[in-house]
Symmetry: D2
């Protein structure tokens, strides 16, 4: 078996050829930092995509993107409501505590790592309105969720209304935003708008979708952009040669490559899912599969050359990517079916 | 004139072809973050270069490299002594305040933006040893300095002895470490050791020297590496696809490209300097020139197509890079001479 | 009814007469901050009490005492294990996030708001040893717990062994340490040692026990004291006229007033408990009672002049104090019994 | 000699008898924290004094008062302009770095530790409006200054206009606000308004003026009070028994005790000054004297029983207080005159 880890994670996939081309095209002197011609286009590009004015900044990681956006809406003495299994809580090494200067993550429960207004109210309504208890300032949701579930436009609308009513900011961790958008369907613009709904900010992920090292922080209140630019520099996230990051992002937006890549990954996930429907722990809406598999079964799959992460003692996670080959997906589906 | 900014800054230069090749060679699935085969080589590579055991981690910016290293040696309630014109004080947007959780930069004076033990003692000796005053925990120097001056090995030895005596950490901002090493001369190993001296940590810069977006944090006390790895993640600096950063760094170390690039830039700087010796505000030891030029003279140079930054009201800064053409350097020297 | 809130909280009680005397005795010029004759005695006083060398510093609040101690054992990128209902998690307004620079509270479950090694292991054993997950650096327990439960010496010994094995710091929030010590019994020295066990640090509370505004941070590793002194100043907790705080603490230690006050409060709690044994939600070991009472019952008690906090929808919390009159305690017990 | 330190510092003076009385009067159960009847009066009391609506909160130290106020006007990525010798820069152990999450103190020069708009402009005008440089968010001045100098109303008006024009917050460190007000003269109301001018916030000091452990944070934009209340709790500054702090402050305001105490101290300082006019390094406007005295002269004074701090190698600082006896002041003046 020559490809040892195709289902480990989309974050290990190589870089899409069109991004290489774009970076090479940017390989001439230009203004440093984000003063170059490409970085200067980002606001307009994302405003066009989302159909509302926004500002967009590149950073190197989703962790930074999430944290910089959250810092605009949660003071150090406040809290951010997120799902108990949210990536910012579980897998970002405490970055929100750093970027938000000790603000608290407030952990809500919800099916499929998604949150509803009711889930959030159940957490925050009992909080006394006094200084002894940290008050919520913002909500962070993940699109697609940590279990590969997409928020539908009406779910987002409900969250937006709830956030507005409670005067909470609403941030979206979009590490796999493209996969959610592809699931929700339509043209790139339609999909992007459906998947983003009424959020205040979005960490728009490209790296898991074929990028090398560029994500976008999208701020739907462009007034916030100046503050984020200062915070980005202060966080050591302002790269000298920003044009290579901007080039990746623009190449992704050109001809809707971001959506095509995600659609490809989603299709591969569905192919796998077809072989293991009864074992699925969550509906497959994006590019992740959570499959009930015992230890022996996992070992059997690994013996066949499939790479993936264990998910607790009795399950495994498989992730497809922009470069997953259809035949590999089919093979995996068949292999699980044959266990 | 078709190249409008060749002397603006080395941080605007393109990426060296051998780094492109190295990144493309890494363009296959591998473990994410720093689990890939290339990232795993860094400790050994740098240990060999410096001739003493060290740990090395990639990050995307010099700002992050400096701050992560300083955080190992200065508690939040302590201070870092640096030159009043040090980059960490003047041009990093307050990043040390962020990464060091409010620790204080303590500003010393010294010729050419360099510090001697005497300069530091003059600052810290008057500090009362009581809790009302912030106590120094570390020293940060820049090699080459903000005025393009190199610390000689004996100067570094004196600083090392002083730091040890005072129980202060000693960090080196090496955004242009290669240029300093090239100035100090010898083989890559000899030069690296001469330029680093007895420091505890080094932010080894590659971006200004032909890199795209990778610097190395080098920790000469490898015990500190684990902490820095946690802090790097927490700072949103742990990229998914670290192999593209490691590839750049390894390509730089291969066949001593880092030293050759820097020697080229230094030579170009000397060529320029030859045309304006009497106007130089600082000796040209690395790849920066600070030249006394009044407003009219600067305008005249710009009219000839030269790009550069003003340096106050009566001077200009010119920076050469790995890709500066010898003929451009000669032209600039001649142009200044002809003013 | 002329005393409307005797069971609301011990933190609302007046100041003990002997502390007034002590403060008045200190009312002459002396060195400011902690340079006065009284503050200088604290280390020795507490070392004698605990029978092992320690350093002790006054601060104005238990919040500050807890946080300053925890900052010695948990780095900003680490975590502190505490009970889900621990005061530092629930009622300190996010202070640990501030003082520990964004470190994370990691919430364990345990009966009566107490933690055992097993409770802690259940939380931390699943944490992957990688940089994506915050690692535990310390444990914080509360003596007596948030439900008025005391840790027995053997429980503390087990926690100490566990912390040592896992290389975790062990801190004790002793807002009601005196009540726990009184419960565990013996002379002041015996009780103090039994109640503190092998902890690394203790926030020794005096305010709820008759003090005005002084708690002690006790560090059983005196090496840590210097750091805490710097951090105390930096936190704005170093008062000019520290002698009035030290005077309170010393008066508390004189003739074991701290233990007598707590024993008085505990006895009052037992008196109340005698009237409502079958309604108690937790054994009464210190000076807090958690009593199952529905809304109508609570209203009935309030109509009789008793003041207390609701505890959720179906219970109430009653707290006795150094000044609770035996007849009031008896009246309350009788009133509950008569519902 | 039986009083060894009368001129060391006003922060070492005892507590005024009327504050003792006030605290004893508060010695009955009341709501904890700042829910008591006295704390609830503070907003109205200070609004009346200053003739404009404001909110006022007690804290235990001037350090906390300054930092909590500054945190309302300076983001973590911003800077606070203050004098190079300002107490917040020199003597607060880095507290602003802690409370403001790494914001930068930006050091301006000015005569007598006072700042004018021109002094501030000289510092901030050269700051480039880009993300590489920390931008000023606020100004902090000290009334009376670190050299005992008072800002006149017209100086404050100019600073207020400047701050408004530059959109900077304006905070006043009033550790010795009373002394400045007494110098500026008039009734308590007139003096308070003259001394505070158009500031956004004031750390109104009482401790150096006869208090035990209570200062007031006065916020002239009462909208900011809610945030400060949360931050105060989070900083461990919310004491359980706040009524003893509020009692001190209210006693100070009653019958203008604060102004009478300061006037007494100022008069004592003038008495001393009369004996050493030609040695004064700064005009004596409040209660501090900076007197040129060589080492031998200082030794001679100490031999006569006078206590004071050295101020560098060739001077001494003397501070008078609410309890300085007129005869002691006269003796000191005479002693210096007789050197």
């Amino acid at each position: 078996m020559t490809r040892p880890m195709p289902f480990l994670s989309d974050n290990a996939a190589p870089v899409h050829p069109r991004l290489w081309e774009a970076m090479r095209s940017a390989d001439h002197p230009d203004n440093p930092y984000d003063g170059d011609a490409l970085s200067q286009q980002l606001d307009a590009r994302f405003s066009a995509l989302f159909g509302r004015e926004c500002a967009a900044l590149w950073v190197a990681t989703g962790t930074a993107a999430n944290c910089l956006a959250l810092a605009t809406m949660c003071a150090p003495h406040g809290g951010v409501v997120c799902h108990r299994e949210a990536h910012i809580e579980v897998d970002e090494g405490g970055a929100p505590g750093f970027y938000l200067h000790g603000a608290k993550l407030m952990l809500a429960e919800g099916d499929g790592a998604k949150l509803s207004p009711e889930d959030i109210a159940a957490l925050i309504d009992p909080i006394r309105d006094d200084v002894h208890q940290v008050q919520p300032h913002a909500i962070a949701i993940t699109q697609a969720s940590e279990y590969g579930r997409a928020y539908a436009p009406e779910e987002l609308a409900a969250l937006g209304a709830f956030a507005k009513e409670r005067r909470l900011g609403l941030h979206m961790d979009g590490a796999r935003f493209a996969n959610a958008a592809a699931f929700l369907g339509g043209s790139a613009q339609t999909a992007a708008r459906a998947a983003s709904g009424p959020v205040d900010s979005l960490a728009f992920g490209f790296i898991k979708n074929g990028g090398m090292g560029a994500e976008a922080v999208v701020l739907f209140d462009p007034e916030r952009a100046a503050e984020v630019r200062y915070r980005r520099k202060r966080a050591g996230q302002l790269q000298c040669k920003g044009r290579y990051l901007a080039a990746q992002i623009i190449a992704m937006l050109e001809d809707d490559l971001w959506l095509a890549n995600a659609a490809h990954a989603n299709a591969a996930a569905r192919t796998v899912a077809a072989g293991c429907a009864e074992r699925l722990m969550h509906p497959v809406e994006a590019n992740e599969l959570f499959v009930a598999l015992n230890e022996a079964e996992r070992a059997a799959l690994r013996a066949q050359g499939f790479a993936f992460y264990d998910w607790g003692a009795d399950a495994a996670r498989f992730v497809t990517a922009w470069n997953t080959r259809a035949e590999d997906a089919a093979l995996l589906g068949k292999a699980i079916a044959g266990l």
